[in-house]
C-alpha cells in the first residue's frame, strides 16, 4: 500500500475531537479500485499524533502541513520546520481550525530567518534562488549547497502561493465550490474540476450520463496533450535547443486555440459542471478536433525525430536527474515521474473515472521506463501524448446521443465522504470532500501529484550539476499552485 493522502479535520463541534485520516491505496498494477483509511481521533487539549514519516516518507509534508494548519503535532517528526505558513505567522494560530475566521488579516510578527538545511565545509557554497525567478515561472525558493558544479543538497521551500483555498471553499454551496476547485491550478483545470465533481457526485449518489462522461474524458485528454507537448518544448528550452522549444510552444498554442474553440476557454475551464458538462461537442467541432489532432500527431513525431537525431541534446538528457525506483515508491511519486522510474500506476486504469468508469475504452496503454532520467520522462510524455490522441479518437467514436447533465439533489446529503482520484497531466490527484448537514462544504482537501513529486525533484537534482537544475525541474514540470493551494 502507498500513502494517497492525509486529511485532517476539525470536528470539535460535533465529535469533540480533531481527526486525522491517513488514506492508503494499493500500489501494484491491476489491483481493484479502492482506498483504505486509517482514522485517528486526536484530543484537542493535547493535539499530538505519532509521526509516520520515518517509516512512510511520503507522510513528511502532510504531517508538517497539519502541524501548520491544524496545530496537530507529529511527535518524532525528523524535520518539524514550518511548511505552509511562512515567516511572521504568529505561533498558536491555526487557519484550518473551525474557530479561525478565514476572512481576517493576521498581523505579521517579527521573525528569525528560516532555518534552511545546508552543508558546511571547505569549498562548499550555498546558492539561494527565488522566490522570484528570472523568467515567467511560479515562485519557490531553492537553496542549493554545492561543491563546484555538483549539487550536494537542495532544500526547496514552497507554499509562496498558498492562497488559503481550502478555507475559502468551506461553507460554500457545492456549485460555488466547484468554481474554486477548478481554479486551484491553471494547467490542471479539467483534472481538478473533474476530481471535485466526482467526489461530489459520489456523495450525492448521482449517475453522470454516458455522453457527459465521454466529453469529460475528451477534455481530460486534451488537457494532458497540450501540457505534455508544451513540456517537451520546455525540456528543449532547458537544454538550449531553441528549435525544439519554439516548435513545442507552437504546437501547444495550436492545441490551446483548439481548446478555445471546443470550450470557449484556452484552459477548458467551465466546460464541466457538477452532474455532467455544460457544452456538447457537435459534428463540426468533432471534425475540427480530428483534423487538429492529426496535425499535432505529425508535428509531434517531427519534433521527437529532430530531438532524437541530435546527439548534443540527447547527451544532455541521458543520465541527467535520476530518480531511483525505490525513491519513487517511498515518496509515493505520481504520474510521468513515477512511470519513468518504473512505477506502473495510472489513475485512469487504477481508479477509473469519467469515461474510463463508463462506456470508455478499456485498453489504456500505460507506458513505463526504468531509467528515471530526464530522457525517460520526456520519452514517456511523447508516448502518452500519442496515446491521448488515440484515446480522443476512441472516445469520440463512442459518443451516442444523450443527456449532458444529471440533476444534483438540493441539498446534497451531509456527513458522507467522497474520494476521487484523477490522472491529471502531472499524475494522480486525490480529492477528499465532505459536506455539512446544510449541504455546504465542510472540508475539501486536494492532494495534487506535484505535492508528492516536489521532494523527488530535490532528490533527482542531487544527482545533477547546478546548471542542469532547470532541465531536471522542467522534466518533472510540477505546479506550485496546486501544491500550495
Amino acid at each position: 500500500m502507498a500513502l494517497a493522502t492525509v486529511v485532517a479535520t476539525d470536528e470539535e463541534a460535533t465529535d469533540g475531537d480533531l481527526k486525522v485520516r491517513y488514506v492508503f491505496e494499493p500500489t501494484s498494477a491491476g489491483t481493484p479500485d479502492r482506498f483504505v483509511t486509517l482514522l485517528v481521533s486526536v484530543d484537542p487539549t493535547r493535539p499530538e499524533v505519532p509521526s509516520l514519516t520515518a517509516t512512510v516518507p511520503a507522510a513528511n509534508w502532510h504531517e508538517r502541513e497539519m502541524q501548520d494548519l491544524f496545530g496537530i503535532v507529529p511527535v518524532g517528526h525528523p524535520d518539524p520546520r514550518t511548511l505552509v505558513v511562512h515567516d511572521g505567522w504568529p505561533r498558536g494560530v491555526f487557519p484550518l481550525r473551525k474557530a479561525f475566521d478565514g476572512s481576517q488579516h493576521v498581523p505579521i510578527e517579527p521573525a528569525v530567518e528560516f532555518p534552511h538545511l545546508v552543508a558546511e565545509g571547505e569549498g562548499v557554497f550555498e546558492i539561494p534562488v527565488g522566490p522570484i525567478h528570472a523568467g515567467i515561472i511560479e515562485p519557490g525558493h531553492f537553496r542549493f549547497t554545492s561543491v563546484g558544479e555538483t549539487v550536494l543538497h537542495l532544500d526547496a521551500r514552497l507554499f509562496y502561493t498558498h492562497r488559503g483555498l481550502e478555507k475559502r471553499i468551506e461553507g460554500l454551496s457545492p456549485l460555488d465550490a466547484f468554481h474554486v476547485a477548478e481554479r486551484i491550478c491553471g494547467v490542471c483545470s479539467v483534472a481538478h474540476g473533474l476530481g471535485y465533481c466526482e467526489a461530489l457526485e459520489q456523495i450525492a449518489g448521482v449517475e453522470v450520463p454516458a455522453r457527459a462522461r465521454l466529453v469529460r474524458s475528451i477534455a481530460l485528454e486534451l488537457e494532458r496533450l497540450y501540457n505534455h507537448v508544451g513540456d517537451i518544448g520546455n525540456i528543449c528550452a532547458g537544454a538550449s535547443f531553441h528549435y525544439g522549444a519554439a516548435t513545442g510552444m507552437r504546437i501547444k498554442e495550436r492545441l490551446q486555440q483548439l481548446n478555445e474553440q471546443v470550450a470557449g476557454h484556452r484552459f477548458l475551464r467551465d466546460l464541466l459542471v457538477p452532474g455532467g458538462v455544460r457544452l456538447d461537442l457537435s459534428g463540426t467541432l468533432l471534425a475540427v478536433i480530428a483534423t487538429s489532432l492529426q496535425e499535432t500527431r505529425a508535428a509531434l513525431d517531427g519534433l521527437m525525430g529532430r530531438i532524437e537525431a541530435n546527439p548534443s541534446i540527447v547527451d544532455r538528457l541521458d543520465d541527467t536527474g535520476i530518480l531511483s525506483n525505490q525513491a519513487a515508491v517511498d515518496l509515493a511519486v505520481a504520474g510521468v515521474a513515477a512511470r519513468a522510474s518504473g512505477v506502473d500506476r495510472d489513475a485512469r486504469r487504477d481508479h477509473p473515472h469519467a469515461a474510463f468508469a463508463g462506456a470508455g475504452p478499456r485498453d489504456l496503454r500505460v507506458a513505463t521506463a526504468s531509467e528515471g532520467d530526464v530522457m525517460a520522462r520526456m520519452t514517456i510524455r511523447a508516448l502518452e501524448a500519442r496515446e491521448s490522441i488515440r484515446l480522443v479518437g476512441e472516445l469520440v467514436r463512442r459518443l451516442e446521443p444523450g443527456r449532458l447533465q444529471a440533476e444534483i439533489p438540493e441539498p446534497v446529503p451531509g456527513g458522507r465522504i467522497g474520494i476521487a482520484a484523477i490522472e491529471s497531466p502531472r499524475g494522480e490527484a486525490v480529492h477528499w470532500l465532505r459536506l455539512d448537514a446544510d449541504g455546504r462544504v465542510e472540508r475539501y482537501h486536494l492532494r495534487s501529484p506535484s505535492y508528492h513529486n516536489w521532494p523527488a525533484v530535490a532528490l533527482a537534482a542531487e544527482t545533477a550539476i547546478v546548471p542542469d537544475f532547470p532541465l531536471v525541474n522542467k522534466s518533472f514540470e510540477l505546479c506550485y499552485s496546486c501544491t500550495d493551494r
Binding site: 481576517q104 523568467g135 509562496y160 460555488d176 468554481h179 498554442e253 470557449g264 499552485s481
Partner: protein
C-alpha cells in the same frame, strides 16, 4: 540541421497580425457579459466571485457587474437569466481605473437612464476605447522606439495567467515584434506585470521587486485575481488584489485574459507610461 531549416521553411510564418488586424475569438468564447435592462437580471448570489452587486433606489433595482472580479464562467448568462445577460465577444477590456470596469444597469426600468445606465449599455470605457487603442499603438512607436521591458511577478496566481504571459513569447504572438519583452531583473525593467492576488507569503517579495524597479515604472495587473482578488478573494492568506499593495496603472480582466487581451492591456499601459514621465 538541414532538416530543421527545411522544416522551418515549410512551416512558414505563424505569427498573428494583432493588433494591426483584429482578433476574432471563436464562437464559444465568453467575453464581457452584456447586461440588458429588464426585470430578470440575476441576483448577486449567482456569481461565484461576488462580481454582481445590487442596490435599490427610487429608479428601481440597480444591478452592477465588476469586470475586474468576473471570471467569465457564464453562470449569470444561463437559464433563467439567459434573456437578461449574454456573454459578449469583447475581450479588449483593460482599463486604467478600476471603476471603469464596473457596468451598471437598472433592472426594472426598460428605458435606459442617461448617465450610469447609458454608459453601462455601451459597455463603459468603450466611448474612447477604439481611439485609445489607436493612440496606444502610435505611442509605442513614438515613445518606445526604445522598448518596454517588463518584469513578471507571480503574486500567487494559479499559473493560468503566467502561462498566457509565456504564450506571448511563442512564435504565434511573439510580443517582441511590438518592442515589448520580459526581463530577468527588475533593475532592467520599465515596470512589473503582476499575476495573482498577492499572497501573504509573497507580499514582501512583491514589494521588494517593485522597489527595485527604477522610476518611472508601470504596474500592470493581469487577470481577475490580480485585478480584484478574483475567485480567491481576500483572507488570511490573500491581500485580495495587487492594488492593495502596489499602485496599479492598468487592470486587465479575464480568468485568464487571452493573450490578445494582455497585449491590448500592455499597449494601454504604454500610453500611461508617457503620461507619468511627463509629470
Amino acid at each position: 540541421m538541414l532538416r530543421i531549416v527545411m522544416n522551418a521553411l515549410r512551416t512558414g510564418v505563424v505569427t498573428t497580425r494583432y493588433p494591426a488586424e483584429p482578433s476574432v475569438p471563436p464562437d464559444r468564447f465568453r467575453g464581457a457579459p452584456v447586461l440588458r435592462p429588464g426585470s430578470h437580471l440575476p441576483p448577486p448570489a449567482v456569481c461565484p466571485t461576488g462580481a454582481i452587486t445590487e442596490r435599490t433606489d427610487e429608479d428601481g433595482r440597480h444591478v452592477a457587474l465588476d469586470l475586474a472580479r468576473c471570471v467569465f464562467c457564464g453562470r449569470c448568462a444561463e437559464d433563467p437569466w439567459a434573456d437578461a445577460v449574454t456573454m459578449g465577444r469583447d475581450f479588449e477590456l483593460a482599463a486604467r481605473r478600476r471603476e471603469d470596469l464596473r457596468l451598471e444597469v437598472i433592472a426594472d426600468d426598460p428605458t435606459p437612464r442617461p448617465g450610469a445606465g447609458q454608459a453601462a449599455l455601451s459597455m463603459t470605457p468603450a466611448a474612447d476605447r477604439d481611439a485609445e487603442a489607436a493612440r496606444a499603438s502610435s505611442e509605442i512607436r513614438r515613445v518606445l522606439g526604445r522598448s518596454l521591458h517588463l518584469r513578471h511577478l507571480d503574486a500567487g496566481s494559479c499559473n493560468a495567467c503566467d502561462w498566457e504571459l509565456t504564450a506571448l513569447l511563442n512564435p504565434v504572438y511573439d510580443i517582441r515584434r511590438l518592442g515589448i519583452d520580459f526581463v530577468a531583473s527588475p533593475r532592467h525593467a520599465d515596470g512589473v506585470i503582476v499575476t495573482g492576488p498577492v499572497t501573504r507569503n509573497l507580499e514582501t517579495a512583491v514589494r521588494r521587486t517593485f522597489d527595485a524597479v527604477p522610476d518611472p515604472r508601470v504596474v500592470i495587473a493581469v487577470g481577475a485575481c490580480a485585478a480584484s482578488g478574483g475567485i480567491v478573494g481576500e483572507g488570511y492568506a490573500s491581500a485580495g488584489g495587487v492594488d492593495r499593495v502596489l499602485p496599479v496603472d492598468v487592470y486587465i480582466p479575464g480568468c485568464p485574459p487571452r493573450p490578445e487581451a494582455i497585449i491590448f492591456g500592455i499597449l494601454v499601459a504604454v500610453g500611461r507610461l508617457d503620461a507619468r514621465r511627463a509629470r
